[in-house]
């Protein structure tokens, strides 16, 4: 294929602004998918994605339009997956920036637009949902043009739902986005921008050919890892897997590698041929590091092997997921898992419960801390229980948060951000009604309930996005919770010193309500080191009798006692105290917003 006839592009948008609907319409219009076969949102293949309306894994579909070959590379919509977005964008020359004409620019619109600009992509702005009565195409066009430094009249107006204006979008892709400019004569180089795992065919690499070409049964090599393989099949998604004999510069497609070990092919690597290897690999991706960590424990401790197996399988399709075995005195055997962000954590938890039918207990999330010890050692701490006592300095991750809200809510958003140790950076009016606030915040302050608080304080109008901005020292302490005198590792928290007292008090109060009375007094304490900062007591119960038991009652009372014992087996043992699973979630439910 002549590279001049190829266009590679992505669609980027804030969640629910209509990215997937537009993709569907494009597939339909280009006859890639017959109307009768059209499942809504073909690109979102995972059940969970479909339900949540978000796209998790990038995919690439080739369509034909007016003599051109267009490769639509799908991107995940959410900030947690921005590394995947940026990967996808590196495989493109342009992007459609879709904005809901009724909602206007939202936080992820900005985040995605900036990513596209960083990647030198041509941006084609598109207003969607102009068929809605509340749509404001003129106002939104001004906002978008302002953001891109473009003219409002250059902004396309469409309804992906009805199909209105979609043809013009395809025309604009051909007109505005430049063709790839790979070198066909040099040794082949292809960028692996994603991969998936097929249990029969092994690793399937999604590639963008930059230079040269590949053909089937040619020995290939991943340059960074040195892994060699001979693809069983090469092809493109149309949208089903369509085998071809060759993939040439500028094209997007897949390689069925036959590799059974996912670790042998890394996304971001460059693939070349064994026979005529390229001199240097393409610039790779910055490796993403999980920033949010939580312990995952099976509620039924016998399910540990199943949890391990499930995590292994998830990892095949989700390279960003990190997990290492963790043993908690309170919760038994489980895994400390690292996630890119809160949504990623939520999705992993849901997939484990739904696709693998596991019942999980997830501890309160925390962030990654960089700790310098007095002895001069430097380490990264992913678990509050592992925070060393002899620390000299603790660095915590900070984010640059973008919040977009109607102007009436600016006060309450600022209050929330200040409350969470935020540092105001600046504020900008996007329109007369809508304001963008930029804050610097410790990531640790948002992992628990920031987003819920933001939503409730702005009646759901706020949109929020963040970017990691670096590590900074913090005056942090570890608050331990002791139940019956025994520290409960799963309940330890790292908190800013100023918040430790209040949060500790809230937490022990909460636990007092969650832990049922036992046959003895159970003290619940919050402590920093050996200093107790809050204390409550679950008083011993004084009566637990079956009032009446005569000849006619015996079987029933026996079953009652057996049931009582079974109920206890579902609890976790902390020392001699039986703690219901719900109590471990107490820390997640601390309503710190209400004072």
């Amino acid at each position: 294929m002549d590279q001049n006839k190829i266009r590679n592009f992505s669609i980027i948008a804030h969640i629910d602004h209509g990215k997937s609907t537009l993709a569907d319409r494009i597939l339909e219009l280009t006859h890639a998918v017959a109307k009768r076969d059209m499942r809504e949102q073909v690109l979102d293949s995972m059940e969970l994605e479909r339900e949540r309306g978000i796209t998790i894994k990038a995919q690439a579909v080739r369509v034909q339009w007016k003599g051109h070959e267009l490769n639509l590379i799908d991107t995940p919509g959410h900030v947690d997956f921005s590394y995947e977005v940026s990967r996808s964008l590196q495989a493109c020359e342009g992007a459609l920036l879709v904005v809901d004409a009724a909602q206007g620019i939202e936080a992820q619109t900005l985040a995605n637009a900036y990513l596209a600009i960083e990647n030198d992509l041509e941006i084609v702005p598109v207003l969607n949902k102009i068929d809605l009565p509340q749509a404001d195409p003129e106002g939104t066009a001004i906002e978008v043009a302002h953001l891109l430094g473009d003219q409002p009249e250059h902004v396309l107006a469409i309804s992906a739902k009805t199909g209105q204006g979609v043809e013009a979008v395809l025309d604009a892709v051909i007109e505005k986005i430049h063709a790839p400019s790979g070198d066909l004569t040099t040794p082949a180089r292809a960028l692996v921008f994603d991969s998936s795992y097929d249990q029969y065919r092994g690793v399937v690499a999604f590639v963008r050919m930059i230079d040269g070409s590949f053909s089937r049964r040619q020995a290939l090599k991943a340059m960074a890892l040195g892994t060699e393989f001979e693809p069983e099949e090469i092809g493109f998604f149309g949208p089903g897997m369509t085998p071809v004999e060759t993939l040439g510069a500028g094209e997007v497609g897949y390689l069925v590698t036959g590799l059974k070990d996912v670790a042998r092919l890394r996304v971001g690597d460059t693939i070349t041929t064994v026979a005529e290897p390229a001199a240097a690999p393409l610039p790779g991706y910055k490796e993403v590091k999980p920033m949010v960590f939580a312990g995952l424990f099976p509620t039924d401790s016998d399910a540990y092997p199943e949890l391990r197996e499930a995590l292994e399988k998830l990892k095949l399709n989700d390279a960003a997921l990190l997990y290492e075995p963790e043993t908690s005195q309170a919760l038994g055997f489980g895994f400390r898992c690292g996630f890119l962000g809160l949504l990623h954590m939520e999705i992993v938890r849901e997939r484990l419960e739904r696709e693998f039918d596991l019942d999980l207990l997830v501890t309160a999330p925390n962030v990654a801390y960089r700790v310098k010890t007095q002895a001069g050692a430097e380490l990264e701490v992913h678990n509050p229980a592992e925070m060393p006592d002899d620390r000299d300095e603790v660095l915590e991750p900070y984010i640059k948060a973008t919040v977009i809200v109607p102007k009436d809510f600016v006060g309450s958003v600022m209050e929330l951000c200040n409350d969470r140790r935020g540092r105001f950076d600046h504020m900008e009016y996007l329109s007369e009604q809508r304001v963008m606030l930029i804050y610097e915040l410790p990531l640790g302050e948002i992992v628990l309930d920031f987003y819920d608080q933001l939503k409730s304080r702005t009646r759901g109008y706020a949109s929020f996005d963040y970017d990691l901005s670096g590590f900074r020292p913090g005056d942090l302490v570890r608050v331990d919770i002791l139940v019956g005198g025994e520290p409960v590792d799963a309940l330890s928290l790292i908190l800013h010193k100023d918040r430790a007292y209040d949060t500790g008090r809230l937490l022990v109060e909460r636990l007092r309500k969650e832990i049922p009375r036992q046959m003895f007094d159970v003290p619940i304490q919050a402590a920093i080191g050996s200093r107790v900062i809050a204390r409550e007591t679950v008083k011993a119960k004084r009566k637990d009798v079956i009032a009446k038991c005569y000849g006619g009652d015996i079987s029933r009372k026996r079953k009652l006692l057996e049931k009582q014992k079974k109920g206890k087996k579902r609890m976790k043992q902390v020392g001699s105290v039986e703690v219901p699973q719900e109590a471990f979630l107490a820390v997640l439910k601390l309503d710190r917003g209400k004072k």
């Binding site: 119960k541 637990d544 038991c549 006619g552 006692l561 014992k565």
Partner: protein, 376 residues
């Protein structure tokens, strides 16, 4: 068991009205069926007689309201039941007349269990009882005059609206009449009774108050010369006489017993069965000379041992550990010893006072249930 059961229970389901909290098998109409019912009971007795020992320790006529049988019919029934050392009849205060009391004594009844429940008019009202405080006082007096010298009073605590003072007053009044035996029950609000429906919210709120109530009952009665010999039962300490209920001790010690009548339960020969609660089906079966419809449960050795443990721990008598070894969770036992809930000495275990107040939870934990793996 060799020699057959030595305890016989006979259920008389008829009641003048149904108390709001009651979940026993009771019938407020069909009074015209009383004669047929008594005949059916006697037929059932004949059909099951081989399960009984030649000499019985106890016969217990419970209900319902046994004293709602006409005196003649009651007497006829009692005369045809096998003789026993202890013959108890349950009575409701408003049914106790001098004539009835005499009939009971003449028929050999030597123990009466009187359902007083409370002496406070507003609490009797809340329970939907027919008797007032004066009926109770009169009944106690009448039974004493007729020569009943082993009287048990039933009292309830945890009645909605019952204060600690109310309970204290009830205990005072009960003690003043000097009964040989007292049964004190926490009101169990069974789901589905009219009572739970009407008082659900109150009942939930009073959980902590009930702890005070049970402690008050145990303290007051123990201090007044009564032996807290079973979780809910107290016997007056009297030299030369053991005033505990021999019949009920039979249940708690795991003896076999035969129960006659609708809804009655029997345990004998490694089986337990419950007669269906339907009066018409009961009558029809026995009038054809057949055993009434019933549900049967097989009792294996482990189940019987678990019940021995569960029931034995209700008593103030020590239990022999060796016999119960196979169903006893040793680590739980050690934990309870450490907590001062159980004392172990010379191969016997006894619950402490606090252990008895927590007896349900203690026995639930001490018993190794079928699917348990004993904690290491």
């Amino acid at each position: 068991m060799t020699g057959g059961a030595t305890h016989l229970y006979v259920h008389i389901p008829f009641c003048a009205s149904r108390c709001d909290y009651c979940d026993f098998v009771s019938l407020t109409d069909h009074l015209d069926q009383r004669k047929r019912y008594v005949d059916a009971l006697l037929t059932e007795l004949e059909l099951e007689r081989e399960l009984l020992a030649s000499e019985l320790d106890t016969v217990y006529l419970g209900g319902g309201t046994p004293t709602l049988l006409e005196p003649e019919l009651l007497r006829a029934l009692l005369e045809r039941l096998p003789a026993a050392h202890e013959l108890t009849v349950e009575a409701n205060p408003e049914t106790v007349t001098p004539g009835l009391a005499e009939a009971l004594v003449e028929a050999g009844v030597n123990r009466v269990s009187l359902g007083a429940q409370s002496f406070q008019p507003h609490l009797l009202d809340a329970l939907g009882r027919r008797a007032g405080p004066s009926d109770i006082r009169r009944a106690i007096e009448t039974l004493g005059e007729a020569g009943i010298d082993n009287l048990s009073l039933d009292l309830l605590y945890g009645i909605p609206g019952q204060s600690r003072r109310d309970l204290g007053a009830d205990l005072d009044e009960a003690l003043a009449s000097g009964p040989e035996h007292l049964s004190c029950y926490e009101l169990e609000a069974k789901p589905g009774t009219r009572f739970s429906h009407d008082h659900g919210a109150d009942l939930l709120e009073q959980a902590e108050v009930l702890e005070d109530h049970l402690e008050l009952v145990v303290e007051r009665l123990s201090a007044s010369g009564y032996r807290w010999y079973e979780t809910a039962n107290f016997a007056r300490i009297e030299p030369g006489r053991d005033l505990r209920s021999v019949h009920n001790l039979g249940y708690w010690r795991g003896h076999d017993y035969l129960g006659l009548g609708i809804g009655a339960v029997s345990t004998a020969a490694d089986r337990r069965w419950r007669n269906a609660p339907s009066l018409s089906r009961y009558l029809a079966a026995l009038e054809r000379g057949e055993k009434p419809p019933r549900e049967t449960e097989a009792l294996d050795e482990a189940t019987k041992l678990r019940e021995r443990l569960m029931l034995g721990l209700r008593l103030d008598e020590p239990l022999a550990i060796a016999e119960l070894e196979s169903v006893l969770d040793r680590s739980a036992l050690e934990r309870f010893v450490d907590l001062g809930l159980v004392a172990v000495e010379g191969g016997l275990m006894t619950l402490s006072r606090r252990g008895r107040l927590l007896g349900g939870a203690v026995s639930s934990d001490l018993i190794v249930w079928s699917e348990d793996s004993v904690a290491a």
